[in-house]
Amino acid sequence: MVTPILATKLFAPSPRAQAIARPHLVDALDAGIRGGRRLSLVSAPAGFGKSTLLSAWVAALRARSGVRAAWLSLDEGDNDPARFLAYLSAALRSADPAIGVHAHAGQPSLEAGLALLINEVAHSGQEIVLVLDDFQVIEDAAILDALGFLLERLPASLHIAIASRSDPLLPVARLRARGELTELRADGLRFTPAEAAEFLNTAMGLTLSHEDVAALETRTEGWIAGLQLAALSMRDRADASAFIAGFAGSNRFVIDYLIEEVLERAPEETRDFLRDTAILERLSGPLCDAVTGGTGGGATLAALERANLFVVPLDEAREWYRYHHLFADVLRSRLLGHGAERAAVLHARASAWFEHHDALEEAVRYALAAGDLTRAARLIEASIPGVRKSRQDATLLRWLSMLPAETMARRPVLLVFSAWSALVAGDIAAVEPRLEAAERLVAPGAPAHESEPGAELDTLPITIALYRAAVALAAGDVPGVTRHASRALRLAGPDEHLGRGAAAGLLGLGLWAGGDLEGGLGAFADAGHSLRLAGNLTDALSTTMVCADMLVPLGRLGEARRAYESALGEARARLGGGPPTADLHGGFAEVLIELGDLAAAEEQLSAAEALGAGAFSAEHHYRWFVSKALLRRAQGQPEAALALLEEAERSYRRGFFAEARPIGAMKARIRIEQGRLPEARAWLDAQGLTPLDELGYLREYSHLTLARLLLAQGDAAADPLLWRLHDAALAGGRLGVVAEIRQLQRQPVAPAGEQGPRLSERELQVLTLLASELSGPEIARALFVSVNTLRTHTRHIFEKLAVGTRQAAVRRARERGLL
């Protein structure tokens, strides 16, 4: 399930019959597009005709030049990154159905989703103007950052137009300085005297003198909403000039004066209707009837539209409307004058109507506005499955923050969910008390609780066990992970695939962190299987990275290679290159480097890069830098590798994955290879690593790094440490690690640099095989590399040993103790 999309938010308002053409403004916008500017910004207070201008412009563009419009009317709820992305995808899809197909399917991050969308827009080739209306409501920093990022990377076929009541918190100044911004502001938008005359006398059908028009224009300062209200007040008035004189002579707030006038002239039932329905963000006939308790709401709305009373249609069928913002605020202030109780009743009715029409999000919003927290709590509980699947975390977290603790105390489902929100927020200490409270409520014999029956409640014990396993994992408590994840697996029925997949995955992560890689692989095979059955191919394929990370130390490189090949084939064919394709390319590159096939690794990294920097999942973003660093290291570019590893450190996120290969240790290894031993030593000391430490899988890579340092320093402590590591790795079946240790043990304990250039590990492997009877192609096969790659290695070995033949190389190597 994805975020439900309200089509009304994607509806470009059709130009009004009474709207007057404003060619100078449309020309300015056109010139911007022709000049290749990225952004059109229409920034002015309410009532300056921003939406009207943009809708007229995009309609003209569409008719004239085949440029399509993607329209998105924003509201406060769009401050949720997942929801914002879902709507952005839907809006772009309305312009070209090929866009946004993959991008909204549960993206891990807004930037990743945006990067994917940009690619799709670029590939589609369709010229699109994306209009973001009412942008002033967007305050979420993540969304603003991501949009700033988008503006810097816009494909030439995409232009963005923003209508906002205040200047958006985007890098507008930079675009302005670079001449990439078309800007229309209040001064440019207000009606000129000629436009005011045309509007009042032609569009609104009045017959005003030149002086009267000038007086109105001066009094309203060309403010279009003011002129429109004035025109409405004067309709059917015998003496327009007297009205204008009164208005011009008054210093009352323009809108107060005029709306009062308009409302005074409307029939009483219309006034009541307007006041009571003003709380609604969007209006339909049946909804208005439910809120007012009356009938004929649809007809009333249609009549309001005909009378031009500030209702804006939101669809072609004239089913949904909204009030003009300015008008809605004035009406709401009048409603408040009738007392807060009245407003609460109306909000509660709106909430009930939305609930019965399966619009839970709006039902929650009105319940909260009505101050009915019990109702809100019940609705939030009911919306959990949908909101969780659409990953609208921010929305749920905001709702939860509005509920006092006592409202949640009798609702186990909500308690468990708030435990999850604490987990997500990193507030680990708050998780267990909430889980315990929930557990007490569902225990046999407990007094009745308030959660509704249903799947969420039925699977609550599984969910509780899963969250406990996640907490244990965060705390590094491996036995705890195993205990809770096993419990979740036992509790989950055979058909509860999602629960089973999550439990198996957590179990696997725990086994991995504990060094049981065979066990971890088995658990992740189960997890992948369950996730497939649950229909979650993205997460199922993501298990490939974890499995490969375990296969490499086990020495099963061929298996890791085949796993990546098959996962990539599937990701390309069935996910269209969407997540986790980029992660898979990055991970595959690392395996290829291990295999010594640097050219193929380079290809994988390029393929990942082609998907865009944001195509990586948040957890694996740093891995791309790691992969690239490992490649540069293997290519003999240690400085480039170190710079990339520093980049990796900056984008590193701890996540739930075992930290089996710390970035600091990788940096230390490169420095050891460069002979910069004090720098390597500093990191190892900071970690408190010594040759006498107790060994454990999570520190194996670091301890091996220490052994390398000791070898380079000619320190005799290297030998016993290597033997202990050797035995531990052998006992754990980690044959890849065993091979690495044996390689190190063959190196003479002597300071680096004494015997000419040092051979890389791969070159030492090749050298060992060169000393055998195997032919060149046989050696290449044994190492899983191409004959070409083998030749490259051989050439490097010959150069470093200053020899010209295989026999000479083997002889020189024996002399130096390398074999």
Partner: protein, 79 residues
């Protein structure tokens, strides 16, 4: 520690009706002879102040000035 509520005065062009006091909870509205309106009221913090200004902006109000009213110092400063 007490929460420091500040008192702000916001001046707008035009005379705003009394009934808007309900809309700007806690504020008093006063029309001035020069055709401006002064809203005076408590503002909890900067976020609340920006929220107030946004609400005024949503009404199409023209802002003339925003001032913080300084209360008289309470008691003597210790030396």
């Amino acid at each position: 520690m007490t929460i420091n509520t500040h008192t702000y005065q916001v001046r707008l062009r035009g005379r705003l009706d009394e009934r808007w006091a309900e809309w700007f909870v806690g504020f008093t509205l006063a029309g001035d002879a020069d055709g401006t309106t002064v809203l005076t009221g408590p503002v909890a913090d900067q976020a609340a102040l920006h929220g107030l200004l946004r609400r005024l902006g949503a009404l199409g109000a023209t802002l003339i000035s925003v001032n913080e009213l300084h209360s008289e110092p309470q008691g003597e400063e210790s030396p």
